[in-house]
Structures are given as structure tokens and as C-alpha cells.
């Protein structure tokens, strides 16, 4: 970096200059430039770099050469070429992806993300916005506010940027008109009122000619506000993350020797001191901070942003994904949330779709339970929506397989944000912001009980497992489950049988057979199975459970190795032939809908623990194979070696 300011900073170390901050105090501002295509974002940044003396001589020479070859300014310096570095960008004269640029003045170091204007690259704009503290929203003075101006303002606001500059560019092309400037500024303030920005500073400028960039322009004598550079140097974006409740998402457990167990992570908010009480949010276990370890020696306290390693006074089983928090100000621990998302994938977001959700350091399976609304960016109205197409913004209800510890995004940008990842393509499909828990349990925290699942299992002298029989109606699940339980009990095991049909007359009597109800049916049976598992029992279920994602969620509820998925396989025509409950006949007669295998898909297990072909093997033999599987898993002392997995 070779800025005039940087020179001054260096000079400060040699000889003191009054106007320069001590180098140790130089702060940092990360900001984005956004707005519609051709509003001049790249040109603006090129100009800022130039005005801040941040361009090297050889870069300037390259720029002059490139301007003659690719430029769109008729032989003059085209600053946009400084940023659009990809071949495709130069060929098309547009910005496709975020470019990061750096410059500094005496007060601040700046990292600027120049983001694309085209709607099709909105995800790249959101990428830039997610790590910015401030936004410069550009408007072409001749064209006024456009759809993309609105869209970007909404995204900037959603992503939690509270301060914006409205840069009304190309003011030279409207004869430096005060009326045009004020009209656009007023229109924007009216539009943005619901977005609740803490400050909006409108500046008339010409990126191409440098008006009001670093020096007040004599051509806009009617403007008395700050220049853009002055605003960037002085704006207080005040996170004040230090005032918030303590949060530390555990990134990595540091265990170099038997004597050291440290929890490495970055303090997301608040601060922590040696001796402070902390709680592992999901489990509810509490302890106190014994040491705050860093390479440079132990420190007495760590504040928001600091990457540290904590050791605790007690031996707690804490892993990556856990959140250490202040016991008196805990995060939400829940499985159901409402959230705002910016959809970023060509495949639209649809209800029931299953994804991986990454929040903090936790990655868990999640489904979109439903889409509550989509936001119309020009009117800021919430409208009904069935799907979320590419680049849309919507409110969704999410459900995760296991509870996660989060905060509302408005309270905490780090613990309130998440991404959704497609499980097959691995693409990042959405950026999300937690609004609230829908579980009704956000004020209820997991309590760490003294009698643990291990102790209950130990008393029963067995390792609990859940044997999950899945398959078409009529495949033989209930028959086999009945035989399995009889044989296990005969051998002295403690068991419980959960039959889908029986439960539909009690716990699940309110549910129908559409896809959503089936998911809920499986969810409830899974939760019951987990409770019974924790009671130390061997649980056998007989449930069609047609969807892979639903079964995967149950598996995720249980400790590793405790979910034994058994595929009871029989061809559809055999099941129809058997029709033990007369369901197929009713479906043929049009009296029931959503019969699996008929008008609803069945997704067989990908890697079941066992496949039972009931067309070829008898129920007795099939049951014997299941019993052998269970016995193999339940042998051994449950409080022994694999107790740690609980």
C-alpha cells in the first residue's frame, strides 16, 4: 500500500505529525458499493483509490494502456478497468463478481467490496454486503431510483447494515442540478423509511471527474455535507458488540495432551473473563472459565472478535457446534424458526425441501417447513408465495433435526445468521437471518439432569437402539415387528413397540396423509422413540415413513450407531395383493388419497442396516435376522467404552 496517508503513518513512527493518529489506533472500515448496472460503482472505487493516492505507478501505466484497449470513456482513464479483472468482465464491460480493494488514509484502513449491479448476480452483491459495516448505494442522477436500487437497499438493510451513503452519481450530466439531487434523495428517504437505517447521507458526486469525492466541488456550491471520503473516514458504524451477551461458538477442541482440553473459537459478542460462569447452550451444562489461552500468553479477558482458546474448570463434553454463553443471557435453543432468506440458487426454494443448515460452527440437516411470504422489493410488501425463485427475498419457517443455539439476527449478526446448502450439489442456496423461534421454547433451556441415559441403560444391562422398520403398506412391517419384540422379551431385553397405525389412533390422531402430515407423523414417532431410547429401551417401530429426509432426521436425533434402519422390501404388486388392511382397495375405489406407492412416492433407504425381502423370506426368518442385528448392537456394557458417544 502506498498512500499519502500511509506515508504519513510511517512518518509518524519517525517524526510525529499532529494530524495523524498513532498507528496503533488506526481503525478499519469494511464497506460495499452497490446499485444498478452502469451507475458507476467500479469507476467510483477507481476514483477513490486515485484520490487516496493508492494507485502504484505501474498499475496506473497498465490502466492507461487498458483504457485505450478496452475503455468505454473514449481514451480517457477508465477506472472501472482497475476492478473488473475477469476476462468475461472486460469483454462485456460489466462486473460479475465482487472485487475487493484496499486503501488507507491517516484515520482508517478501508476494505471495499465492489459488487455487481446485474440482478442475476445478486448473490455476489449479498456476499459483499454480509461482511460490510457500511454501504455506498449509487444512483445515476439521470435515471433516479431503479428496481435494483430498491433491491440492494433492501438487502443492505436485511443484512444488518445500519448506515448508508446515497451517492447520487453523474451529477455533471444533469448540470449539477440541486433540484434533481433533492428529488432523488427525498424519494429514497421515503422508500427506505421502513428499512430503518440509522443514517442516510446523500451526496451529489461525479465519480468520473472527482466532484465531492475527496474535495468539496465548486460546481455544487449548494451542497454543504461531507465529501464521500470524509464520510468514510468519520462515520461511526458502532457495532458495540462488546455490550452484548457473551457468545462463543466452539470451533475446534484443542487436545494436544491428556492434561489440556481447550475450546478454540472466536468471541462472537460480549466479553469473557477468567472466573466467569459459562453455559454450553444446547446441553445446559455450566462451568467457569479457568484460563484464556493465547500464543502470546494467557490473558485475563477476551472481547468480541478475539480468536482465543478457553479452558473450563469442569470436564464438560463440549464439541464443535456448541455455543458457550452467559448463563443469565442464553441464546435461543430450538428446532423451529422463522427466518428471512435471500435465495441464491437456480433451483427455487420450496416447502419440504431438505438442506444442510450452517449456523455458527454447527451444521445440521434442516427442512423448509413452509414459505410464509415473499417480499416485493419495490413496495416492501409481504406477498403470499409458494416458492422462492433465484434472487428473491422471503420469510420461511425452518425446522432442524436437532436443536441449535442461535439469536435473532437483529440482536446478533454472528449467531443469528445461517446459510442453507443443497445436500446433493453442495451449492450455497440461501443466506438466512433468524427472526424468532417458533418452538415456543425459546425461554426454556435444556436442563442437565443427574440421571443420564447411560445410567438408565446400565440398570437394564443393555445398549438401547431404535430399530426402524420402513417400507410400503402391506410389506410386512407390523407382523415382523411383533415377532421381533416377542423374541427380544423372551431373551430378557427391555423393549417397546411403536406401530404407526396404532399411534395414528392416539398421539397422531389429528394427522392426515398428505406429505406434510406424514413428515409430522414421522417426526412425532421419532421424538417418542428417542425418549424411549433415553429411557434405556430397545425400540422397534413399524411405520411406512416414505421420505428419506424424515428418516435421516430421526437418525440425527440419536447417538451415532443407535438408529438401525431396516428396509422391509416387497414389490408393490405383492403388497397390493396382500392388502392386509384393505388400503389399496380403498385407494382403487377413490376413497383414500396419498397412499404410498400409489399416488405418493416411496424413497427406499440408501444404506439400510438390513434389507428384508418378504416376498422371498418368511416373517419368522426376517424377524430372526432383525433380532440378531439388535443383539449384536446391544451386547456389552452400556456404561463402558461407547458411553462417551452418548
Amino acid at each position: 500500500m502506498s498512500t499519502a496517508a500511509a506515508r504519513a503513518i510511517a512518518a509518524e513512527t519517525i517524526q510525529s505529525e499532529p494530524e495523524v493518529l498513532p498507528r496503533q489506533e488506526r481503525s478499519e472500515l469494511r464497506f460495499i458499493t452497490c446499485g444498478s448496472v452502469d451507475d458507476g460503482k467500479s469507476t467510483l472505487i477507481g476514483r477513490l483509490l486515485h484520490e487516496a493516492n493508492s494507485l502504484f505507478r505501474d498499475q496506473m501505466a497498465t490502466l492507461e494502456r487498458d483504457s485505450r484497449r478496452f475503455g468505454t470513456t473514449g481514451g480517457e482513464i477508465d477506472y472501472a478497468l482497475l476492478l473488473d479483472g475477469l476476462e468475461a468482465e472486460r469483454e462485456q464491460g460489466i462486473t460479475i463478481d465482487v472485487a475487493y480493494r484496499f486503501f488507507a488514509t491517516a484515520q482508517r484502513a478501508f476494505i471495499v467490496a465492489d459488487t455487481p449491479g446485474h440482478k442475476q448476480y445478486t448473490r455476489n452483491m449479498a456476499t459483499g454486503a454480509s461482511n460490510a459495516d457500511f454501504a455506498v448505494l449509487l444512483v445515476d442522477a439521470r435515471r433516479g431510483l431503479l428496481e435494483q436500487t430498491h433491491r440492494h437497499a433492501v438487502i443492505v438493510s436485511l443484512l444488518g447494515i445500519r448506515h448508508v451513503a446515497l451517492a447520487i452519481n453523474k451529477i455533471d450530466l444533469v448540470e449539477f442540478s440541486q433540484d434533481v439531487f433533492e428529488e432523488i434523495a427525498a424519494a429514497f428517504r421515503a422508500f427506505a423509511a421502513p428499512l430503518a437505517f440509522a443514517s442516510i447521507t446523500a451526496i451529489p458526486l461525479s465519480a468520473r471527474f472527482g466532484d465531492n469525492i475527496a474535495e468539496p466541488s465548486p460546481r455544487t456550491p449548494w451542497y454543504h455535507g461531507p465529501t464521500l471520503l470524509r464520510l468514510l473516514e468519520t462515520i461511526d458504524v458502532g457495532h458495540h458488540r462488546a455490550d452484548q451477551a457473551f457468545r462463543l461458538p466452539v470451533q475446534w477442541v484443542n487436545r494436544p495432551s491428556q492434561n489440556f482440553r481447550g475450546f478454540a473459537g472466536t468471541v462472537a459478542s460480549g466479553e469473557i473473563r477468567v472466573g466467569d460462569a459459562v453455559v454450553a447452550a444446547a446441553s445446559g451444562h455450566t462451568s467457569r472459565v479457568a484460563r484464556i489461552v493465547t500464543f502470546d500468553g494467557d490473558v485475563p479477558r477476551a472481547a468480541a472478535g478475539h480468536a482465543v482458546t478457553l479452558t473450563l474448570e469442569d470436564e464438560l463434553d463440549i464439541a464443535r457446534g456448541d455455543v458457550l454463553a452467559a448463563p443469565r443471557a442464553r441464546p435461543i435453543v430450538s428446532r423451529q424458526f422463522s427466518a428471512d432468506v435471500v435465495w441464491m440458487d437456480e433451483d427455487p426454494g420450496v416447502p419440504r425441501a431438505a438442506y444442510l443448515l450452517k449456523a455458527g460452527t454447527a451444521t445440521v440437516p434442516a427442512v423448509i417447513a413452509n414459505i410464509a411470504s415473499a417480499l416485493a422489493v419495490d413496495t416492501l410488501l409481504n406477498e403470499d408465495a409458494d416458492i422462492l425463485p433465484l434472487n428473491s427475498i422471503g420469510r420461511i419457517h425452518l425446522e432442524t433435526t436437532i436443536p441449535i443455539a442461535v439469536d435473532p439476527y437483529d440482536d446478533n449478526r454472528t449467531t443469528g445468521s445461517f446459510i442453507l446448502i443443497d445436500r446433493t450439489t453442495h451449492r450455497t442456496v440461501a443466506a438466512g437471518m433468524i427472526r424468532e423461534s417458533l418452538g415456543g421454547s425459546q425461554e426454556i433451556h435444556g436442563h442437565a439432569h443427574d440421571v443420564t441415559p447411560e445410567r438408565r441403560a446400565f440398570l437394564k444391562a443393555q445398549t438401547p437402539v431404535v430399530v426402524w422398520l420402513t417400507g410400503l403398506s402391506g410389506a410386512g412391517k407390523s407382523t415382523i415387528a411383533n415377532l421381533v419384540e416377542r423374541r427380544l422379551v423372551a431373551q430378557g431385553f427391555h423393549t417397546m413397540l411403536l406401530d404407526g397405525d396404532n399411534l395414528r389412533q392416539s398421539l397422531n390422531s389429528d394427522l392426515g396423509f398428505d406429505a406434510l402430515s406424514r413428515t409430522e407423523n414421522v417426526r412425532r414417532v421419532g421424538e417418542v422413540a428417542r425418549l424411549l431410547h433415553d429411557a434405556g429401551l430397545i425400540v422397534v417401530t413399524a411405520l411406512v415413513s416414505p421420505f428419506r429426509a424424515d428418516r435421516a432426521r430421526i437418525a440425527a436425533l440419536l447417538p451415532e450407531g443407535r438408529f438401525l434402519e431396516v428396509f422391509v422390501d416387497a414389490p408393490l404388486d405383492v403388497c397390493r395383493e396382500r392388502d392386509p388392511k384393505g388400503l389399496y382397495a380403498k385407494a382403487e375405489a377413490g376413497r383414500i388419497r396419498h397412499l404410498t406407492g400409489r399416488d405418493q412416492a416411496y424413497e427406499p433407504p440408501v444404506s439400510p442396516a438390513l434389507v428384508l425381502n418378504t416376498e422371498r423370506e418368511s416373517a419368522a426368518i426376517a424377524a430372526e435376522r432383525v433380532v440378531r442385528l439388535v443383539v449384536a448392537h446391544t451386547r456389552g456394557n452400556p456404561s463402558g467404552g461407547d458411553g462417551a458417544q452418548l
Binding site: 502506498s2 513512527t13 454480509s130 493465547t294 502470546d296
Partner: protein, 323 residues
């Protein structure tokens, strides 16, 4: 270096204070960059099966190594270090590499494209772009494949070059190490999507948001050991069209009329010695370098003869699998 960890001599209980805390000496800006890099380093170790750190022994690598020691302390960095040697590396650089690996107990892997070298590929006769592809890019890809590394740290910074300015911190590479600049994953907050399909890999750049200025400022404050070639000294030099080439060994080829003269020079960036231009300088300490970088009017990449070879050459190299 009194605070180094000797191989196999990890203390049972880490000492409470190893040296005076330096945190107060970093500006809020540098502290933020340091914390961000440590977060990235830890995220990779937590989420990938088999990561590696590309260690080119330059100033950025030295900072990255230092940050890795911080991120995992009191454990040692839990991954190996890979140096792609072209065979035309400065002797001082190799000495520094071996000494550092020995003193810190690093798991160091060195690989080079020996087949290309045997076939006569060298920086004098081979076209520069082709030389770089064979000796650096191909050697790197072969080494990553050989060990099955799924994530590789690189010291690349966004301020270096226009194509790098477009780079994500977690840079997804398709099968064959291909970079698709038009189809990069959105990178939101610090929630990095680390999922890979078989054959895919990730390049990770913890120093993305650092500038050359930040690197020197940090080296200065943290007292990080660097290759002596960064410091000015009297060295044997040939002036080739204005580029000062230091003659590092007897393999140098001279053009007609070229004379070896002794000049006081140093390097801003280190590559293969026949392709790295030195600059005249009297900066013999890191403080001197810092002052010089601050006052410089040309970018550090100016001394890299391989960058200017063709328009958008960095982007093309990266697409082929270069860092």
C-alpha cells in the same frame, strides 16, 4: 527464538505466560485481520479431512505459518506443510525453509516436477508461462493428488492482482483443480461452505484481506523470521533490461555483453531466482523495509516477470490450478 516448540517436546501443561502479551501493540485493523485469519485456519482444520499448508517460504508464507502457530497453540499446527520447489529456488530460501521446519518440528513435504526438469525445462529456454505451468502448477497439482489433500492453504492476497481481487477466501476447485471464476460460491458472513464432492478440492486464503503494507507491519510488530533476501545486502547482479537479476548459482546464462556487478539490493517478492527481479535498496532491517514499502510508488508484483507475460495471465494460471 526462545519460544519455539521442539519436535516431540510438547509441554504437558502449557506454561501460563510464554512471553509478554503483544496484543496491545497491534492496531485494531491488524488485530481484526489476525483474528479473522485464525478463525479461517481453525475452520479448515475442523471441517476438512486432510488439509495442507502451501509453504513457499516467502513473507506471506511466514506470516501464515506464524498465524497457524497462534491458531492451534498449545498444539502444533495439525497439518503438513508443502513446498513446491522448482529447482531454481534461492539457496537462502531453502536454508530458511529447512531451519524453520527443524526448529518448529513442522511436517514438511517437498515436491517438484522432476520429469520436466529432466526433460530440460528451465527458466532460460522455456517460455515463461509454460515454465510456470510445468514447474509450479503441475507440480502442485501432482503433490495435492499424491497425498489426497482436500484443502490447501495459500498465502494469496486480494491486493496483489486483479484476478486475485475476485477470489473468495474459500476457493472451490472442481475436479482437476479447475477454478471457475464465474461460478464461485457466495461467501456470506464467516459461514464458509466447505462441502466437497469426490474429486473436488478447496484452496483457502487466510490472508485475503491483507495488503503488502499490513504484512510488513505485522512481521515488524510480531518479529517474524523471514528469508534474508528481503533485506538489502551486496549481491552479484546482472542488469537485464532494467531488471536486476541476482546470480544465485553457476547455472546462470549470460546474454552477450552482460557483466556481473555487486549491487546493494533486496527482494519484494521471491520466485525462481532467474525470474525474480531485485530492487536497489539500503533497507537492512524490517523497519527499513516497512518505511520503504510505504514510500514505494510501484506495486510489489512489478518484479514478477511471470505476471506480465500476457493479458489476464493470473486468471488463466489460476483456472489451470495455480494458487
Amino acid at each position: 527464538m526462545s519460544d519455539i516448540l521442539m519436535p516431540g517436546a510438547l509441554p504437558e501443561e502449557p506454561p501460563v505466560v510464554r512471553r509478554p502479551a503483544r496484543q496491545g501493540r497491534l492496531s485494531p485493523h491488524l488485530k481484526r485481520l489476525e483474528d479473522e485469519a485464525i478463525f479461517i485456519l481453525r475452520e479448515v482444520v475442523a471441517e476438512f479431512r486432510n488439509p495442507v499448508m502451501l509453504y513457499s517460504v516467502g513473507k506471506d508464507s511466514s506470516v501464515m505459518l506464524h498465524l497457524a502457530r497462534k491458531a492451534f497453540f498449545p498444539a502444533r499446527p495439525p497439518f503438513p506443510f508443502l513446498h513446491i520447489a522448482s529447482g531454481w529456488d534461492f539457496r537462502d530460501l531453502l536454508d530458511h525453509r529447512d531451519r524453520t521446519a527443524r526448529e518448529l518440528g513442522l511436517d514438511l513435504i517437498v515436491r517438484s516436477n522432476e520429469r520436466a526438469a529432466r526433460a530440460g525445462v528451465n527458466p532460460f529456454d522455456t517460455e515463461t508461462g509454460e515454465y510456470t505451468r510445468l514447474m509450479l502448477t503441475e507440480a502442485l497439482k501432482a503433490a495435492l493428488d499424491e497425498f489426497g489433500f482436500d484443502a490447501a492453504f495459500g498465502g494469496g492476497r486480494r491486493d496483489e492482482e486483479k484476478a486475485r481481487a475476485k477470489e473468495r477466501i474459500f476457493s472451490h476447485r472442481a475436479s482437476g483443480h479447475i477454478w471457475e471464476p464465474r461460478n464461485q460460491r457466495p461467501e456470506l458472513w464467516s459461514l464458509f461452505n466447505t462441502r466437497l464432492s469426490p474429486g473436488e478440492t478447496m484452496r483457502v486464503f487466510p490472508l485475503s484481506n491483507w495488503t503488502e503494507f499490513d504484512i510488513w507491519d505485522y512481521i515488524r510488530i510480531e518479529d517474524i523470521p523471514i528469508v534474508p533476501l528481503y533485506l538489502a545486502a551486496d549481491r552479484p547482479v546482472v542488469d537485464r533490461d532494467g531488471a536486476l537479476i541476482v546470480v544465485d548459482d553457476e547455472r546462470m546464462r549470460f546474454n552477450p555483453g552482460e557483466q556481473v556487478v555487486t549491487r546493494r539490493v533486496r527482494f519484494r517478492t521471491l520466485g525462481c531466482w532467474p525470474l525474480s527481479a531485485a530492487t536497489a535498496s539500503d533497507a537492512t532491517t524490517v523497519d527499513d523495509i516497512f518505511a520503504e514499502v510505504v514510500a514505494s510508488e510501484s506495486s510489489e508484483r512489478q518484479g514478477r516477470l511471470i505476471d506480465g507475460a500476457m493479458h489476464a495471465s493470473m486468471e488463466r494460471k489460476k483456472r489451470e490450478g495455480y494458487f
